[in-house]
Amino acid sequence: MRPSFFHHLHPPTIPSPQARWRYTLGAGGMAFFLTLVLILTGALEAFYYLPSPQEAPQSIQTITYLVPYGALLRNLHFWSAQLLVLVSGLHLLRVIFTGAYTPPRRFNYWLGLAAFVLILFLDFTGYALRWDSGVHWALVAGTNLLKKIPFIGQALYIAAVGGSQIGNATLVRFYGWHIFGLTLMIVILIAWHIFRVRRDGGVAVPPPDRRQSPERISRFELVRREALAALLLGAGLVLLSAFVPAPIGGPIIPGASVVEARAPWFFLWVQQLLKWGDPFIFGALIPLLALALLAAVPYIAPVKPEELGSWLPPSGRLAQAITAVIGLAIVILSLMAWLPV
């Protein structure tokens, strides 16, 4: 069989043990598939969405209730975005817990980490675009947090909000960032990330003499597996989106009491931290420190080449421990914010 365009995007062969689901979890591939779904569904939503505070909730109601299959489309966009946070988080954990951040993949690890941060921003801006009573609190709290950053806080706030308070300009800015600025950045980052995967020698593997098996799979098998994963994930997504609606709320009524004083789920841990003290320290500095620690992992515990290609390499223990602590803390903090006190 002659390789097609899609086959040519893949290396001719890759080592068989490292092509297994249980090694890669397929997380990077799933994240890529979800990104494609997001771009496609987002582009379709853009035909109906009206970026103004008065019209945004109505246009979302139009998509949700009146456009044939509009609810499915919106739910697909929503669920893909939520899953993308989980799947790219999983991908990050896989990379750390297999030591794949070690040079020569260190730079690509940072590219991936940056993409993960962008995904969080994309999720938050997308969440805010609902512009309904369900997101109002998080929008106000999130942007006010910017003000607490010393020296540059006020400028950051004005840059994000487009004025002294949330209004028309805020929505247009969030819209611009969501559909253009952040999307363009993440598309470039993902393309670079995938290019670097091949440039750095594919999925992290031990040196040839340390491999358990010399077997390799062809690009045809690889594409077949990817297509299989895409089909199954697509089926799951469609099913989820057909029956579990994305959240929607009534319009924001100025002066009305807050309907839902809760951050979106992926920032619940920050909300919990904010309850404990100074907004700058707990809301910005601690999350940034956690991110910096993750970024420093390639220096903290570089993994020996012969230990690559399998889970939990011993020379990466410190990195694994740091990540486990950060991950557990995020889960526990999120649960604390989510569960009724």
Binding site: L66, Y69, A235, G236, V238
Partner: protein
Amino acid sequence: MKSLAFPLACLALLAALLGAAWQQSRTPKPVALIPTLTGQVEYCLTCHGDVPEISPSHPVKTFGCVICHGGERLALDKTIAHSTMRGGANPSDLQFVEASCGGTNCHSGAADLHNDHIPRVLSSLQATYAGAVANVLYTFGAQNDLLAHLSAAPLPPSNGKSLPALNPSTETSPQVLAFAQNCLNCHLQAQPRPGVEYSRFTGCSACHTPTAGIDLASTNRPVIHKLTTAISYTQCNTCHNRGNYDLVKMQFVPRQDHPADRLNDYYQPIAQFTRCEWTLDCIDCHTSGEAMGDGLFHNTKKEAQYVRCQTCHGTIDQLPLTKTITDPDDLALRLSFLNPVIDLKVGDTILVTDKGEPLWNTRMLPDGTYELFDKATGQRFTFRPVKGSACQQKADEQSSAACHACHSVER
């Protein structure tokens, strides 16, 4: 197995897509309405197609639903669709009435007083209850005069003016406090007391939506979507004639009976009344200026209520005031158009009050007598002027008690 995986995955996706199509087929078909007044599509009728039209003056094709009720016109989810409604099921509640019913083409901001309905109601004693508040405060030493300074509840301003609300938490007199707590449930802004005999909504709907005798708390009651100017005495009775205030205990003492026979048990035992007071409906005599307000903050009911026996019957010296309709846009013609119990025309002569309000359901007959059509039932009555009759009542003694001396009904 390997060769089956791909077709099976395709089947899974197909099944999921079929599931999505099935789910889409289950969603209700949106029913669109584009009211001519707003020109904006609304989908309320998807669920509310069975609600009857509220009145011939508010056809749904012209008004739609949202212009009065608010709400999210595009949402097909109950919670979201209803999230921005004004006043729940009753947008005429006085807190929302300006947004729901106001506007210069509607019920506020009109150049002529009569059509300035909302400011009239907001200043009226029905809304402020200010006369009773002033009397009680004066009686118990909480104010020095009998003038209306406070209203029973916070109200939006009427043409820029409003009375501050009586605030029970700042009252020191136990009687005034008890009054504030026990006696303020009859004005238009108050929720009615529990019980089917008090069954009414708030705001405009208190009078204009017929609820008398319907248990509003019942979950299986019919939808009451009606506005009318043909207001029966039974609707007035949801506030009036329901019992007495005990000024010692500062409590409302509701009457225990449920008056069914209007002649024998409607009025309380000590009351004197004439035939027209139990055969006609309240609004046949009491004009809209009296009942709905005239834009002034009156101090007492006595100031606001001015229609007397002589308004229709005159005195031994004078015939009642009349007016011959010449303008095809005359207020009397417009009002009779809204409630067509009488076929009033240009050239007809009708009775008018001494403030000039038309008694548009009356007409002078060629023989010098008059006819009146009951606004609620359409029933025709005829009556004569006092002048030329055997009545000897002095022209300057025209209180109701003076007329009742001869004309009260025995029961």
